[in-house]
Symmetry: C2
Subunit: 686 residues, 2 copies
């Protein structure tokens, strides 16, 4: 508490300093231009530092408050909501400081005016101001020698007075998209509870892909209708669908953090998590496609070619990014398996970090979407590479990404809060009617997403999605940083400026209100909290588990429709895992006899000596945020009946026997000739 | 190796893509300005991503090569040298790609020309181009309404064709000074082997402050003489001293990493480490002061007022930054001690990280030097806060800073390498004569720094600095990132452009050559390597240690001149440590009786229950990079003779008894009344 006070004083001090700095008149005498330039740079540097310091102060304040709330078990406001509220308060203060002395008067004589040269054969007006200007100035000593200087249009494109700090604290979408977002999404993939995720894969894909598209169309359609009704004639159909696309991205941060803290029912958790993570990627790609479509169709009513191009674009971008992310993950797995880099955990962690981040940048360079790439890279890293890491690197990578994720999340929400009031006025248009209409539209969109799809899914699910889950999913459709960042990325037209304001309000309202009301809502809907995943699995008798769950994605109990999933699972166990990781079984055990020389080549010594620390390598259960759940491996094993493998003759994969650590080599067709090759410690297990 | 191949292919691919992109003609049709703008943004984004990707690829390549070298115990090139060499190669490739198709022809009709308006009452010429221009453009619909647009001068100030990638990969000093450098220096302070550092504090301060000033003056003077001799008349005395200041910063990265790997003699390590870390700060402040002096004196011969202002500036900046850094460290210690935030290691680590970084930004905002602040913040955090952290946070912070430090270092050297060839030609002037002169000057400067000061120091030291150590110090004066970044920060005048080229070559030559030759040099000078610090301390009998070392900074064996140090040590043990950390003894044990109520208030429960895990809390020995040395605590204790405390009557501080974990309460004046308050586990120790 004392500490909170210290920080508060400190933040106030920052604000005072900033106020003092703002009061300094901007006297620009162009006499000593060099010294002047240096001073400008220095002042800019100080302002930047002040902005950073202010954000750091706010982050610290948030952390201390979060701690206080956690300490007192006070769950009414979540940390992201808190960040945003603090940001809002500081935004108001900044606004107030800069608004009070009326728009800061920049002395007019310090402005250097220019006119466009007659030689330009293009007419320019305010709508198409040239992006850069060239002027030619004579040399002071040699009048015949001219030097050319290039001037760039300032980002906002207008010469309205821009108080420095105000400009500086405006949300920078590139920083978000290039640094924060990859970190957040990678962590989501890396720390995913993959078992429950894959169990609900069908539902997740349905909600994320079809649901988001439905939501996009519904919101777009509703907005189109409402804007006609309210005569916002500037809005084209394309603008409406663009809004639909960006606002359909639900936020994976706030609700999930609460769900995680509360140990909410695992299936609900998995579905909401999966939906919101994929959602973001879908929304990013979808909004890009809508823009592409708009550019191709040229504003015409409907253009089939442009539509299919946009669709192809969507699929191509998603597929390409998926491929890049997965391949980069596999490459990391290969490097960590076949080199002895694990002897130097620092190098290993650094490499892991860099390879993961480069999956993002590779996708961006290829014109795909980095977020999808980094998500799948995270999943692949967790599934394969994690097994190869040294124990120290396992800890390091987990902790590193946890920390960067935490900081990024809070920073983003803080930044959103500050931006709401400090966003450049020329780039935003406030309109109560439009905001109201958009709230209506997102409710309709979410409704048409959740309930019809749940109905359809329930037709095929044994483990139905109950009404209370559906209501909770409806309620937990918070909009967050992605929607915000997508909205402010382009504010060149009037409709886009309306969209920015509506998105801001929607993000604020949903994060603070829905985020804050999640706990009461869970109670009201009678959704189980405090579910101990491990206990859950142990208490159910194996047969109950087996009969109860019949999801399309559930692997060991394969049905016809999940044929592809089963095939993949088999391929993964027989080839991918032995090839890419240091886990048992080795390729020598899983591949047919004819491939033995190749298999020998691809099997490392580490892999041969594995076996004792079996549980460590069972990455599907191991790679979860919660350390208390590290022992799930055993309980999971016991939940899979041993006589199950006979159901599927196509499967050679080693199903784990209950209660023992036998890796299922007994089911394998050629175990006998391999046993001799196994070194001591593993030998007695086989 | 296969992995290295993969990465190499990948980097080549990047280069090809970049070449392909460069080949695209820049067709700018200003017709659809909005779409055009979006496309420009998109292209810029792709270029940025490509640059980042290229650097990531190079970093990965460096890591893999470093691993290979470590794996094969091949120590000829250090990782920083390696980064730089890779950077150089890629720089050449980029240069080659962009140089081949002759300067890319930007179609002249796409340039929009402007002329300065008649209304400006200032004459502009090429030397004082206005930093920003305003133009007024009519609205397309409403011709009477004009809108004003602001244009900023592009950073390089000229309109020479700038290939995008070339511009993008140029070293960005702000990124270095604001992000990389704080991380590197904080890690230096945080992981400092404080025991040896403080033992050699006198020598370190002497070399860092006096030595760097001598070096600055010597280099400046030599350069002034040589430039007169070679008739580079542009160089003022001020320019020469500026060069002297920036080039006197020796690099803490390369040599130390080698020393650390080789386990070089601990005293040599401490002196070189301390010198190079403080050095950087001194050089930064010194160069700033020289600039201030230049601005104040206005180029006149000598101006006493300006000189003393610059000196005052120097002292004020150093003192202020020291105060900010230390206070921020203490604030962190207080927060971690008096809140229970250690229950949530993630929050704790995040707070620790943010508070440390904000010490840097606070100092920058206050117009001081952030690097000094962050260095002392690091030292304070290690000395106090580290003791209060949860075990998980101890690990996390160490690992986090180790990783960020590693990445920053390599990134910086890589970046330097790439920049050498891609640095904008308008900002650099190559001249063999000047470069040769500067090499001569730095050798003279280093010589006048090392040998005379060693001589002076040896007069007072029992543990003399031998000739071989002096030669090694002379040899290990590598120049690194600081010198480079300081040089390229301002390239507005011709002398500064000469300085950039000389600094680049000096950095390259010293890092690659001296860095590579460190190991042979150590052998040749017969300097002990493979010194196990722990063994070192254990093998010496306590009395031998005592008589052998008589450094000014050595604390337990205080002499008259180190009175202040002893006072501080006493104050630290009696007040600061008990107040700021959870270590024993508590304030209740160290403060006089009258303060008991206050002391009780300031003693936490954690602190009371400490005692068993005594060694963990002895942060002076604990906070070292090398985990194998964690057990030094005991051996250090045994090296201090117990009968020593009687020599100094002013000292109430608890001298640790040999062979026992008694914290010296027997020497304390009021231990008896406290014992009753102590809870069980600690009680039996006291």
């Amino acid at each position: 508490m004392a500490a909170g006070g210290v920080i508060a004083v400190f933040v106030t001090a920052c604000c005072c300093i900033s106020a003092a700095m703002a009061a300094q008149p901007a006297t620009i005498s162009p006499a000593a231009s060099n010294i002047q330039k240096e001073k400008t740079v220095a002042l800019q540097h100080t302002t930047d530092s002040l902005t950073i310091l202010m954000l750091l102060g706010l982050l610290m304040l948030t952390i201390l408050t979060v701690w206080l709330f956690k300490h007192r078990r006070f769950r009414f406001v979540h940390e992201t909501g808190l960040s945003m509220i603090y940001g809002l308060i500081v935004g108001v203060i900044i606004k107030f400081i800069y608004a009070t002395p009326t728009p800061p008067v920049t002395p007019d004589d310090s402005k250097v005016w220019a006119v466009l040269s007659e030689s330009n054969n293009q007419t320019y007006y305010s709508g198409n101001a040239p992006p850069s200007l060239y002027i030619s100035l004579p040399d002071s000593k040699n009048a015949t020698a001219n030097e050319t200087f290039k001037y760039n249009l300032t980002s906002d494109g207008s010469a309205k007075p821009e108080p420095m700090l105000e400009k500086a604290v405006t949300f920078e979408p590139e920083l978000f998209f290039n640094v924060m977002l990859p970190l957040i999404i990678f962590e989501a993939g890396y720390s995913m509870k993959r078992r429950h995720f894959f169990k609900n894969l069908g539902a997740i894909i349905m909600f994320a892909f079809i649901g988001t598209t439905i939501s996009c169309l519904a919101v777009g359609g509703t907005m189109f209708g409402l804007t006609r009704l309210m005569s916002y004639t500037e809005f084209t159909l394309n603008d409406c669908f663009f809004f639909g696309a960006i606002i359909s991205a639900t936020d994976p941060v706030t609700v999930l953090a609460l769900f995680h803290d509360l140990h909410v029912d695992v299936d609900l958790y998995a579905i909401v998590f999966g939906e919101s993570v994929f959602n973001d990627a879908v929304a990013i790609v979808l909004s890009g496609s809508v823009e592409t479509y708009g550019q191709l169709s040229g504003g015409k009513k409907f253009n089939a070619e442009a539509f299919f191009k946009a669709l192809g674009n969507f699929l191509g971008i998603f597929g390409g990014a998926f491929a890049i992310g997965s391949l980069m993950g596999c490459a990391t797995a290969l490097i960590t398996k076949y080199t002895k880099i694990r002897d130097f955990p620092l190098l290993e962690t650094a490499l892991f970090f860099l390879m993961s981040y480069s999956s993002f940048q590779t996708a961006e360079v290829a014109g795909l979407t980095g977020i999808v790439a980094v998500l799948f890279c995270g999943i692949t890293q967790a599934h394969y590479t994690y097994n190869n890491l040294s124990a120290e690197s396992k800890d390091r990578t987990k902790q590193l990404f946890e920390l960067t994720n935490f900081l990024s999340e809070n920073f983003v929400f803080l930044y959103i809060g500050v931006s709401v009031f400090t966003f450049q006025e020329s780039r935003i248009r406030w309109d109560a009617g439009f905001i109201f209409a958009s709230f209506l539209a997102i409710i309709i969109g979410r409704f048409l997403n959740v309930y019809p799809l749940s109905f359809l899914l329930n037709l095929g699910r044994t483990n139905k999605i109950g009404w209370n889950f559906q209501h909770m999913m409806m309620f937990s459709g918070l909009r967050g940083a992605i929607a915000f960042a997508l909205a402010i990325r382009n504010t060149s037209t009037l409709p886009r400026q309306y969209i920015v304001s509506a998105t801001m309000i929607i993000v604020l309202a949903t994060v603070v209100l829905c985020g804050g009301l999640t706990t009461p809502m869970l109670q009201w809907l009678k959704i189980r909290v405090g579910v101990d995943e491990e206990m859950e699995m142990q208490q159910m008798p194996p047969n109950a588990v087996r009969s109860e769950s019949g999801d399309p994605g559930e692997i060991p109990r394969t049905k016809g429709k999940a044929w592809l999933v089963a095939k993949w699972y088999n391929f993964d166990m027989v080839f991918m895992k032995p090839f890419l990781t240091n886990c048992r079984p080795t390729l020598m055990e899983t591949l047919p006899k004819c491939c033995l020389p190749l298999a020998k080549l691809l099997t490392t010594e580490e892999q041969m000596t594995q076996g004792e620390s079996h549980r460590d390598n069972d990455s599907d259960t191991d790679m979860i945020i919660d350390h208390s759940q590290l022992s799930i491996g055993e309980s999971e094993l016991s939940s899979i009946p041993s006589n199950h493998a006979e159901n599927d003759t196509s499967r050679k994969l080693p199903i784990q026997e209950p209660e023992t650590y036998d890796l299922g080599l007994g089911h394998n067709s050629q175990p006998m000739n391999l046993r001799v090759n196994l070194p001591g410690p593993a030998g007695d297990k086989v």
